[in-house]
Amino acid sequence: MLLEDLINGLLFGATYSLVAIGFTLIFGVIHRLNIAHGATIMVSAYAGAAVSILLGGKSYGALLAAFVASVTTGATLGILIERVAFRPLKDAGYLAPFATTAGITIILEELFLKLSRVVPIFHPEYTPFPSPLEDLSFHAGPIYLRGVYVVIFIVAIALMAALGFWVDRTRSGRAMRTVEQNPLVARLMGIDVGRVELTAFAVASGLAGAAGCLIGVSVGTVGPFMGTNLLMISFVVIVLGGLGSIRGAMVGGLVVGVVESMTVSLLSARYKQAVLFGLLFLVLVIRPEGLLARRAVVRD
């Protein structure tokens, strides 16, 4: 029973990894928090749900189409957010983009609150995300696993592997790491820093879109305020993994997934967030560079 919760938490935690990787990728490149990251997830999840509902929702083809729709929506929205909320405020300090992305969050959440009442295929409060994975389940000996968790875990790991390949092996991935290290030197080496930033936003938000689709499928519903909660969870993940570290975010997401499901099974679902944030606070005060960070970095 406990082992079952542990494994399910680990599987679902992979989606938290995806969310947090996107967040940390953007932070690594421009050193600003993208508060609209949560809203990006929400909008992409709605896009996926809409496609899935329109296509009947019970075939794997429909699911694939929904996934593509979510990723595309996420990436597009990410580019828009970079253009509107970050590009004009490049020299304005860290507070200004915090405020503009918060403004965009308010706009998108209210818009989808409104849309979910007006658009006929949506429902007020929670819109269902139909998928053929709903009834799938696996039995590994005495352990029961939700099929959808296994699928989202595999997809999430595949996406992370692709991301790892991009960051480590490709030209544009290397350009991004150079900008992370030192934007000025990157510019002197002929790297188009503006384009790297835009790429980072597109990739990070595309991952957020993928996470939105996966979470929507596994929960079964999407709602206008689902992003805020995920944003909070990704804060915990990046603190565990170290702000700006992609590998830290991967592991941190799995840890948070396990901690969450353990809290629910041992304590109560009501204390889920208190435990997570208590953990965040303790980690920050005792080991500010993150649990998983290998070396101390100057945090400023």
């Binding site: 932070f27 928090l33 508060i35 509107v84 909320a85 004009p88 405020l89 020299d91 304005a92 300090g93 860290y94 507070l95 200004a96 915090f98 405020a99 503009t100 918060a102 403004g103 965009i104 969050t105 308010i106 706009i107 209210e110 818009l111 409104k114 805020t228 944003l231 909070m232 804060f235 603190v239 702000l243 009501r270 204390y271 967030q273 208190a274 944030f277 208590g278 965040l280 606070f281 920050l284 005060v285 500010p288 945090r299 400023d300």
Partner: protein, 292 residues
């Protein structure tokens, strides 16, 4: 209570919240703990006045005092953290407080009706004790305190710590004391403000004190500018009163609100009251040179 009085009171409460957020920013600390203290003050005051019949101000001072002590307790461990790490740790504090009140069930019968905090359902029928003069009276006290601090050695110490907390100690400034004191003052202001809010609305719920309120506090400071204390006050007043003129937008009002935030921020990236406006205001108040 009339419509104008209600709007003015709401604006006043938001201004108090903006001031408490500003106080930590003034010393260069990106703290998101204010919502937590606001919630503690609201619940504390509501319980003291409603359940045990305390008058408003003793209840406010008691909750404010508790928040001040907690502010010290939170301020010390947070000294190790900087920038976004401090923001995330203090956000953790605010969220933990919210979850605490989501799980707090304490009710005693009052006139046959069980009253008190009841978890996620919140605290209904809080005694309405706050008048508009309580709000603006406390605001005046805070403003006088801030003006006095700005013109004292403490204000200079705070500014020096904000600009460079590595150099400040070499000038004989005790930055540990300065930072913890700012944390404490901000916590106390938020605690009393939250108490006034509880006595004003008569209904408080843990979900009022979530991440959205945290964002609101940052909006006040970002749009007003962190340079002066009256910048965030101005931003809080504008962001409370201006949407009232757009009542015809009805359900789209919050969308407009978000757009207003984006536009204001893009037009004034360093806040409404930035260095240049601040300098102009200072010149205005400075003693005019005598004509020779």
């Amino acid at each position: 209570m009339g419509y104008a009085t209600t709007i003015l009171s709401l604006a006043g409460l938001n201004v108090l919240f903006a001031l408490s957020v500003y106080i930590t920013f003034a010393i260069g600390q990106f703290s998101l703990a204010q919502v937590g203290f606001w919630a503690l003050g609201a619940y504390g005051t509501a319980m003291l006045t409603t359940l045990w019949g305390w008058p408003l101000w003793p209840a406010l001072l008691a909750s404010g005092g508790v928040c001040a002590l907690l502010g010290i307790a939170l301020g010390y461990p947070c000294l190790r953290l900087r920038g976004f790490y401090l923001a995330l740790a203090t956000l953790g504090f605010s969220e933990t407080v919210r979850v605490l009140f989501q799980n707090l069930e304490y009710q005693i019968p009052l006139k046959g009706v069980p009253s008190g905090p009841s978890g996620v359902l919140g605290f209904r029928n809080v005694a309405v004790t706050t008048g508009i003069w309580d709000i603006f009276g406390f605001m005046l006290v805070l403003v006088i305190l801030l003006v006095w601090l700005n013109h004292s050695r403490i204000g200079l110490a705070v500014a020096a710590t904000r600009e460079d907390d590595v150099v400040a100690p070499f000038m004989g400034i005790n930055i540990v004391f300065a930072k913890v004191a700012a944390f404490m003052l901000a916590a106390m202001a938020a605690g009393i403000g939250g108490g006034l809010y509880a006595g004003f609305t008569s209904y408080i719920s843990p979900d009022d004190f979530g991440f959205h309120m945290t964002l609101l506090g940052i909006l006040f400071v970002a749009i007003g500018g962190t340079r002066t204390f009256y910048g965030p006050m101005l931003a809080a007043a504008i962001l409370t009163v201006l949407p009232e003129f757009f009542r015809f937008l009805a359900e789209y009002r919050l969308i407009f609100y978000g757009a207003l935030v984006v536009v204001l921020m893009t037009l004034r990236p360093r806040g409404l009251i930035d260095e240049r406006v601040d300098a102009a205001v200072r010149r205005w108040f400075a003693r005019k040179p005598r004509e020779a």
